[in-house]
Amino acid sequence: MTASTETLHLQHADHQAHADAHGWRRWLYATNHKDIGTLYLWFSFSMFMLGGTMALGIRAELFQPGLQFWHPEFFNQLTTLHGIIMVFGAIMPAFTGLANWMLPLMLGAPDMAFARMNNWSFWLLPPAAALLVISLFVPGGAPAGGWTLYPPLSIQAGMGMDLAIFAIHLLGLSSIMGSINIVTTVLNMRAPGMTLLKMPMFAWTSLVTAYLLIAVAPVLAGAVTMLLTDRHFGTHFFKAAGGGDPVLFQHIFWFFGHPEVYIMALPAFGIVSQILPTFARKPLFGYVSMVYAVCSIAILSFMVWAHHMFAVGLPATAQLFFMFMTMLIAVPTGVKVFNWIATMWQGEMTFETPMLFAIGFVCLFTVGGFSGLVLSIAPIDIQMTDTYYVVAHFHYVLVAGALFSLFGATYYWLPKWTGQMYNEKLGKLHFWWSMIWFNVTFFPMHFLGLAGMPRRIPDYPLQFTDFNSVASVGAFCFGLGQLLFLYNVINTIRGGAGRAPARPWEGAHTLEWEVASPAPHHTWEMPPDEALVKKGLRAQLLDQDHE
């Protein structure tokens, strides 16, 4: 750090003087974190609709046995694209969008650390989505080997696989740049007096998530690059006849894939840790232990990948190691669930829509966590691998976990984004509707899996019919219910239930509630003064020093 303040003399004459762009330029050339956050969130929602439509295509086919609507090949394309689009197009960009919108506001920063690169992180997503959609229309169709892209299927597939590989390259590039931006913003842009152990929990989880992504997105890029060379340039990384091994791909993929699970879960933890204290009107219980739990989960997530591969013939010692490491993750996760419940304990709770989604998250994510614990037991997993039990497990974690937290976050921060209150009745209806139909859809899948129904199959024996029909009805109701959400958001933007004050939730004490609603285009151009920061920290019981 050799730079002296004297040579780095600051200019700011023309700094904020540049006029904000209007029209299409505002969005295509954006360097404003709020605009880019908005782009991320709308993109994510449209991908959610696209991936959701594919899910309904899957459920329509599975409503009864026999082949109704699709060729089996197309059914497999649907499951594959549904997975890739929901993971990379819907969930991850939504969290990055929230981080974009909220981190500068919550940390008291004028923008993200690298505002121009921020724009590139977003604008790499639509081309990647376009490549995935184009893959449906090339000879051979879209990739159909599952979102995990296992060889040899992925080596034998048509050129749709190449488009998917390049889409993953672009998505990875976007993730890496977005994550570098988040890490740098959190580490370098916090308001005076806001030390690391005093920042909002959402900032902590965004930081750790971004760290995980920087660590594993390049590994996925490497894995699909080797697929590409195996497909077109004669290498034998994953071909036994040439000395390679298809299992090698699984190792590399899941070295990415398991941290990826936490990349989609940790930000949800952060959101819930913001919402619960607000509506319980109590500070977050066990703040520091929450931080340690998040960090422990992140570190452990690098050492559990082979629990996705118990059935491929690993040595028993490896199975034991990965089994026990996986179970160990239940400890920090349990700490978090305990702390959330303790936060609500004896709180003055009210149940606005964000709170409902947060509590729904805690209940259902825990169910998903428990079924994960069941699957972590190697001898049981060998029975359950690739059955609907696994499908039920990860949808409890990703739909009732990640997605519910995203709904909660949207209702929580909509007043700040739009300056209007959303329709509370409609929000509550959306919650209960989603809660009920989610369980109708996914709970029966546990039974189907235990009874032995394999995943990624367009047809099934008669004995699985009833539960499949129930799940399909649930899925269509759940899907339609999301239009309520879309309507509510649009309605809020157009005026909603009236103007929102700067602090619509009186139990919220983080910095984003100190600026007006809607948040002005530029906020915290000057760092907030320390007294203001301290005031919020005191209300969160974070003003004492942690030694």
């Binding site: 730079a3 690391l196 590994v219 000395g243 190792h251």
Partner: protein, 289 residues
């Protein structure tokens, strides 16, 4: 750096709306689509790839040009400088993980998959009678053509010496920067770029020799695949590092940078040292052992 007691610029520099990111996205989209079409022999793919590459080059000149102009105008305060340092560090960490994937593939192949093909439960006797796993001589039960492995002596050892020397010349140049001895800076930086170019030429020659004379291709079993993948991606990184350092040389010749304000140079130097360390691992695990 700025973790607990923050540095705060009075006005943190936030750039104006810029066209370069979306231009870069267009470039990468064209390159991705073009490459996918090209390798599947769809007409027009090569042209899309070429167009995308040209647009990417245009974008890089435009974007980095903006950054250099902003830097020369002293737009970047101390806090922005810290951001750049964090950003570059995490970028290099992502590159470490990228190479880790390929090193992981190498170790897995050498330690697990090839030996297992050689003795595991005798199955290979039925599939590939007579196959004896022997790294690097026979890493594949079925090969189209025989090949020779690359020795560590000769060009690889020379290249190791070249890269290590380039690390020294670069550090010498950095001293020149810090102590305001611009001639030393210019000579050191020029020597480093020259060593980088020599390294690349030698590696190109090595590849040519391996491909034509030794029968070593991408299809030469697990050995050929890991050899070319690891050394190839490293070579691409040397190319990028050389371009970065050459850019810095041009900037130095134009009188950019001061004794205290030269993070562009330092970032390129960090990158170069990273590429250097990766080479040492390559030399040990790909060429030597």
């Amino acid at each position: 750096m700025n973790v607990e007691n923050g540095v705060h610029d009075a006005h943190y520099f936030v750039p104006a709306p810029s066209r370069w990111p979306i231009v870069g996205s267009l470039a990468l989209f064209l390159m991705a689509l073009g490459t996918a079409f090209w390798i599947n022999r769809v007409p027009g793919g090569n042209w899309a790839l070429l167009a995308g590459t040209l647009v990417l080059v245009w974008m890089l000149f435009g974007w980095f040009g903006d950054v250099i102009r902003e830097s020369q105008a002293h737009s970047y305060g101390l806090q922005v400088d810290h951001s750049f340092r964090w950003g570059m560090s995490w970028f290099i960490f992502s590159e470490v993980m990228f190479f880790a994937a390929f090193f992981g593939a190498l170790f897995y192949t050498r330690v697990i998959s090839v030996p297992e093909l050689g003795f595991f439960s005798g199955t290979h006797e039925l599939l590939w009678p007579g196959f004896a796993a022997d790294w690097p001589a026979a890493t594949a039960p079925k090969l189209d053509a025989p090949y020779q492995a690359m020795a560590a002596v000769g060009i690889p050892a020379t290249n190791t010496a070249i890269l290590l020397t380039s690390g020294v010349t670069l550090t010498w140049a950095h001293w020149g920067m810090v102590e305001n001895r611009r001639t030393q800076l210019k000579i050191g930086l020029a020597l480093t770029v020259l060593l980088g170019v020599i390294f690349l030429c030698l590696q190109a020659y090595e590849y040519h020799h391996a491909w034509e004379k030794m029968g070593l291709t991408l299809a030469s079993g697990a050995y050929g695949a890991t050899f070319y993948m690891l050394t190839g991606f490293h070579g691409m990184h040397v190319l990028v590092g050389t371009i970065m350092l050459a850019t810095m040389l041009v900037r130095v010749l134009r009188g950019h940078f001061s004794t205290e304000h030269h993070f562009g140079f330092e970032a390129a130097a960090w990158y170069w040292h990273f590429v250097d360390v990766v080479w040492l691992l390559l030399f040990v695990f790909v060429y030597w052992l």
